[in-house]
């Protein structure tokens, strides 16, 4: 039997019972695990698409159609996390090893069809083998699973990403999708469901690590004619993209978890608040909801029970503060996204004043697996206080950029050196920033600390949503602190004074420091302001806004002093603090002295010139015109 192309609705009949769900699961499990033909999958999350995966996908389809290869099916899948190698294509064939192709373009796609799909011989020069990564025994890695990048990873949240087609609900069902929902609504009470999640000790992956079970319990014990479940997909933290990846690669896991949460707390309506900046994720979510409704896994009387659950999508509009739960609720209500004082917490008074739980995408993506495998299984992974895994978005000055999912308690060193491959170009590691604009920097000293929620807070940073941005010796920590403050000033909602005015004053001081106009007293003022804002702001955005400054001041006070006292930027980033100097390569052509707007360059024709530092305004125009590269900044 050949595999049918996807999108056919013949099989999309309503599933009315658990037995029917199981039948469909068995059928699609077999199709995925032991394909009768060949299954070609193209990684088509945002990263893949921007690397050219659309053209690759089309090239495969056209070529296969042209040659009439009926036994080959081409599918879109989500991101497998190895963004450096996009576009990625993998080929599954029953009884054979999976073949992983990297950096594919339409032309290479043509060769693969010709040689591999028709000729039966993989194009080794296009697979992972070309990287020539050897393990200890000298074996050359041919599969992603073998790479050092993947060996320390443990995938719960990203398990299906890159394996199943997110645009076909039947493939999700084929990997035990909706089994957890079926189990909960047919064999457990809502109380037992809350109890099970509590027993797993799952903590919210959105930042603060609040126990998910407790949140559910608060909402479950409220009596109300209407309750809501909200999925927070407003991943505004710059540098974090795991939620996008889950939504693009495994959207049904989130829908299933929301329905489970709805059953547990007694809600029949869910909302997904997702960033408008994620168009692919929005499209796949919309399709997933449509499919789930068509097949009866969302909507009225799910699987023949009395449980009803519907989900709607609301788009964010580019306001970071809307990641804060009360601001997010205001935004869904169609208002300006301004946080309010808590209590009352959303669990008692949330959306339109009704009891509401808000869980982040990654938190929800853990739920079906916890229900299927039990809380003991979940607790056996990670640390005692923070069980399970955490997905990190590795970026910045690191060789292997991408998404990594590791058990809690993995050390930073393992993540950065073993998985991430360290800083490229032989540069020296300086710090890693976690927690985005609310977090802080961790330095060399913290590399061997096992990471979980509590350890990161103890180190003066926080988990945040899991962005992990590596910096090397070329990054100036004062400039980074200034960057985050600039971000918070932009994103402050303007409601409370400490955040609105205080962050602005902090930014002014940082501007002064990076431009060379600061005095030592400014450092004290900066610290005092930071401390005040932290204590008196209304919401978490303001309360955590000083963190990037405080943590860089703690670890890199020497850099601050160098800017303030010596008027130097040791990393040569802050342009105003750099001097321009003419080297021996100068031929005395006088071009620079004629260009200099303030006549700071002196010297005789055909002799080495020099720059009068007291006159120079550091505009850099001399560098631009010098034909001999004889001017340097230092």
């Amino acid at each position: 039997m050949t595999m049918q192309p996807h999108g056919t609705t013949a099989e999309m009949n309503r599933i009315a019972t658990v037995e029917e769900l199981n039948l469909l699961r068995d059928k699609w499990k077999a199709k995925l695990e032991t394909p009768s033909g060949i299954r070609v999958v193209v990684g088509m999350a945002t990263c893949g698409i921007s690397a050219g995966a659309n053209q690759v996908y089309e090239a495969f389809r056209n070529e296969i159609k042209k040659r009439g290869l009926d036994h080959v099916v081409v599918e879109k899948v989500g991101c497998i996390g190895m963004c450096v190698y996009e576009p990625i294509v993998e080929i599954f064939e029953d009884g054979k090893e999976k073949v992983s192709y990297i950096h594919i373009d339409p032309e290479k796609a043509g060769s693969i069809v010709e040689q591999h799909l028709v000729g039966g011989k993989p194009c080794d020069e296009l697979t992972l083998l070309q990287l020539d990564v050897k393990d200890q025994s000298g074996y050359v890695c041919g599969k992603f699973e073998d790479l050092p990048f993947n060996r320390k990873q443990k995938r719960i949240v990203l398990h299906n990403c890159g394996y199943i087609n997110p645009e076909d609900i039947r493939e999700y069902i084929g990997v035990d999708g909706y089994q957890a929902l079926a189990k909960v609504i047919t064999s457990m009470t809502p109380e037992e469901t809350v109890e099970l999640i509590s027993a797993s000790h799952l903590r919210g992956r959105g930042g603060a690590g609040f126990p998910t079970g407790l949140k559910w319990k608060f909402a479950a014990r409220e009596t109300s004619d209407q309750k809501y479940v909200i999925c927070n997909a407003d991943e505004g933290d710059p540098g974090a993209f795991m939620d996008r990846s889950v939504l693009e690669g495994d959207p049904h896991a989130v829908l299933e978890a929301m329905a489970i949460a709805g059953y547990a707390i007694g809600a029949d309506q869910g909302w997904i608040y997702v960033r408008a900046e994620y168009p692919t994720a929005v499209k796949r979510l919309e399709l997933a909801i449509r499919e789930a409704k068509a097949i009866g896994l969302l909507g009225k009387k799910i699987l023949g029970t009395d449980f009803n659950f519907d989900i709607k999508i609301r788009l964010g509009a580019g306001a970071f503060v809307c990641g804060e739960e009360t601001a997010l609720i205001a935004s869904i209500e169609g208002k300006r996204g301004m946080p309010r004082n808590k209590p009352p917490f959303p669990a008692s008074k949330g959306l339109w004043g009704k009891p509401t739980i808000i869980n982040n995408v990654e938190t929800l993506a853990n739920i079906p697996a916890i229900i299927r495998n039990g809380p003991e299984w979940f607790r056996s992974i990670g640390t005692e206080g923070s069980p399970g895994t955490k997905v990190f978005a590795l970026g910045g000055k690191i060789t292997n950029t991408g998404l990594v999912e590791v058990p809690m308690g993995t050390t930073l060193r393992e993540v950065i050196e073993d998985i991430g491959g360290g800083c490229p170009n032989g540069k020296k590691f300086k710090a890693v920033q976690t927690g985005g604009p609310s977090g802080g920097c961790l330095t060399f000293d913290a590399l061997d600390v096992p990471i979980d929620f509590d350890q990161l807070v103890a180190l003066g940073s926080m988990m945040g949503s899991g962005g992990m941005i590596v910096m090397d010796e070329d990054n100036c920590m004062v400039d980074i602190a200034r960057f985050f403050l600039d971000f918070t000033v932009d994103e402050s909602c303007g409601q409370c004074v400490p955040c609105r005015e205080g962050t602005k004053r902090m930014l002014e001081i940082l501007d002064k420091i990076t431009s060379g106009g600061a005095e030592e007293k400014d450092l004290d003022d900066l610290y005092e302001l930071a401390d005040n804002i932290r204590q008196t702001s209304l919401c978490a955005l303001g309360q955590t806004a000083p963190n990037p400054v405080l943590s860089t001041m703690e670890h890199f006070i020497d850099e601050y002093r160098a800017h303030v006292i010596d008027k130097k930027c040791p990393s040569k980033v802050c342009k105003d603090l750099l001097g321009y100097y003419i080297t021996e390569a100068c031929k005395g052509c006088t071009k620079c002295s004629r260009t200099c707007p303030v006549e700071a360059i002196r010297g005789k024709v055909k002799e080495q010139h020099y720059i009068d530092q007291s006159v120079c305004i550091r505009c850099g125009s001399c560098i631009d015109v010098c034909p001999f590269d004889a001017i340097e900044r230092r």
Binding site: S50, A51, P238, R275, E277, Y278, K397, F487
Partner: protein
């Protein structure tokens, strides 16, 4: 303000937008949705459209204006036919996004947040499109271009100018 469609076309667009609004007006908290529809259809949310929204959804015009100006995605000036956006999220920032912005500002003759007088180009910065592993990234009408360098930016801008300007000189303002 510039609009690159004539008034007859605009009337048609307004009528279509009013039909969109009719469909959603009875729902709860529809203001954001209405603004998304307006931004997508017109490329901005001009004052007459804000008034239509206020009247149809029965919310004060001041509330509409308050929400429009709160969220960075809604704009009061039209986006250009070619909407160029530079990501200045953390990862892009430390990999040189500022240089790319400078290049774009100089080449297009407009600043961050502006639209060229001929309505061809608009330039903005965005906070993280979630493609951090391809940093620094630039989006052109929503399409992501990753791992940009100043050299590639120059090439991209030249291509875009060729594509969007029949006479390249016509963009030389100021």
């Amino acid at each position: 303000m510039v609009s690159h469609i004539n008034s007859e076309e605009r009337q048609k667009e307004i009528a279509a937008f009013e039909r969109d609004l009719e469909r959603i007006k009875d729902g709860r908290g529809m203001l954001m949705l209405a603004l998304h529809l307006a931004q997508n259809r017109f490329g901005y949310v001009p004052s007459d459209v804000q008034r239509i929204i206020a009247d149809t959804l029965k919310v004060p015009l001041s509330t509409v204006y308050g929400v429009v100006t709160f969220y960075s995605r809604f704009t009061l000036i039209p986006r250009g036919r070619c909407d160029l956006s530079i990501c200045t999220g953390t990862t892009c920032y430390i990999q040189g996004a500022e240089e790319l912005l400078k290049e774009a500002e100089e080449t297009l003759g407009i600043k961050d947040g502006e639209t060229s007088p001929d309505g061809n180009f608009s330039l903005s910065t965005t906070r993280c499109v979630g493609a951090c592993s391809l940093a620094p990234v630039v989006t052109v009408n929503g399409e992501v271009h990753g791992r940009m360098t100043v050299q590639e930016m120059k090439k991209l801008l030249a291509d875009l100018k060729k594509q969007y300007l029949s006479q390249p000189e016509s963009n030389e303002d100021k």
